[in-house]
Symmetry: C2
Subunit: 368 residues, 2 copies
Amino acid sequence: MRISCTQIKLNKGLSIVSRIVGARTTLPVLSNIYLEAKNGQLKLSATDLEIGVTTSIGAKVDEEGSLTVPARLISDFIAANSDENLDIESKATTLHLKSARYEANIKGIDSSEYPVLPDISKDSLLELPVDEFTRAISEVVVACATDDTRPVLSGIYFKFEKDTLYLVATDSYRLAEKKINIPGLDDDREFIVPARTMQEVLRIASAIETTEKIGISATENQVSFTIAGTQIVSRLIEGSFPNYKQIIPISFKSSAEIELRDFSSAIKMASLFARQGGNNVKIKFAGSEVIITSIADQVGDNISNVPAVISVESEEITFNAKYIGDILQVLPDKKMIFEVNDKFSAGVIRPEKAKDFVYIIMPLRVEE
Amino acid sequence: MRISCTQIKLNKGLSIVSRIVGARTTLPVLSNIYLEAKNGQLKLSATDLEIGVTTSIGAKVDEEGSLTVPARLISDFIAANSDENLDIESKATTLHLKSARYEANIKGIDSSEYPVLPDISKDSLLELPVDEFTRAISEVVVACATDDTRPVLSGIYFKFEKDTLYLVATDSYRLAEKKINIPGLDDDREFIVPARTMQEVLRIASAIETTEKIGISATENQVSFTIAGTQIVSRLIEGSFPNYKQIIPISFKSSAEIELRDFSSAIKMASLFARQGGNNVKIKFAGSEVIITSIADQVGDNISNVPAVISVESEEITFNAKYIGDILQVLPDKKMIFEVNDKFSAGVIRPEKAKDFVYIIMPLRVEE
């Protein structure tokens, strides 16, 4: 291959794909980025065999071809390069890069050794505005299980129904469900995407900063997300997602409308004390306040009285402070609603205005 | 003790002192911050027995007294607290903190168990503008040894002479010397301050953001730096600093005037290749360029041609890229001067304009 391109474009392309390469040394070529010059474009791909990312940048292609080169070395080299334009040429398995002041030869591996990344973007399911989709994912992904004891819980469940896409995650202690209204959607597919894939989609979407739509495609075993020419392909998690609908409470005895920031401060403080002892915090709706209490025998105790609009007073219910704190960091509104029944029943946190999101937390059974 | 103060002041005071407390668990009280209410002020102190930091904040003192409380817990609690004012009261060894919405009891340890921090600020040696002193320290401290094989090399050497303070550091591979002109100074003291102490002085000076002067005091075993009411006390390193003057080259065959940013990019790139093999880079002054070469058999190679004003061409000299990179990060000017003799002699890097700083690097002997 022989091409010319700008440092800015190449640097951006490399930063999008280079995070995917694994620390796996069993297959050295996976530490590399696959470069392919064709049709006025330089295609960049990386994969760790679970997730694959492909993006393209505009380039002047004088000679088509492909090669793989170490991801970290080429990324760091291009990031440090302050010249405007680069001439890049492959000679056997070495990539020669030349710009006004800087020049390098980087030893690579023949591109025939690189695994073929499937392009499944033609099996398109739907398109969504990027900001709507990424907000939904960031609200749901916090509830994914972080271990693999039950693999189906370590991903986000995509459930297509008529006019609606549900995104759901649960680690069995808390559950997040987002409902995206898509008029005209007529599908009944369902699949589970690894949480790590969704984190990468969030990272890449934020790096690309586009107003274009995100395209979602899926086959039986794989899913892909396409944003402005960048495609993230991932394996799906096998298995059935639990039938969760039954655990979403239908009605509540008590509700509290609270300033998100105040409640967030209170939960942070309670965690400081609770972290010594299982992260238990006690929450009670009383008068015009939500009262948050946390006691650690060795350390001290903490009580916060956060102003709130309370419908009916509640009994004291024990929750895990981490599960509350996680969702407060990603809620979009300034105000939130906290609804509870009793100390044996799930509570619900949701943004004040949105009816399309619920976050359910199981209370902790505490010996009295 | 019983006091009132603002969250902002207490938060700042805690952030200044709390980093010093060690992870040492042999003496639990050292994980605590010492608080003392007296004369309209709350004094905060922390120490790891090598470095001690004391600062004071304005407070309404209703009852004098002192107590020590866990540094991390009180710092995190106050940082998360969004109320404006705090009432703080000690009851036996528990500290009670109350603000509009938030309240806590933090269990502490009696202040009698806390080591007494010496106040040596009365043994004042001199005062210097904070920005001048911190710039000098950040230029010199990079040359300190990072291990303790020769303790005297792990600190900055302060040498007082008539009208001049010299600050010097060397790890025996490179040496930095800064000369601060202080008309009227008449002293001949010398001492070595641990690099870690100087890093803390830099951190605290940058947190305090004052235009006041920094006061330096010293006794036989200790040194203190006082900035706007905050005092950092540290032990000195015992032993004699090497007689370094002889290794500063007096004249040079070749000099190059280079844009700092260009040279910095080139060294960064060369390091990417050189890090696989002892960090060797080759430097040569030729024509109107400084040529930087780095070769790693397994990885590839890199050559940079950085425009420069060259006095006389030089032979190729091998240096450790890290030693060059370290100083480029802290030099203040846009241009720098690089002076060399031959491949067996030390080179010198200095800012274009300043005559008060030299950074000397020994070349590497490379088998041909």
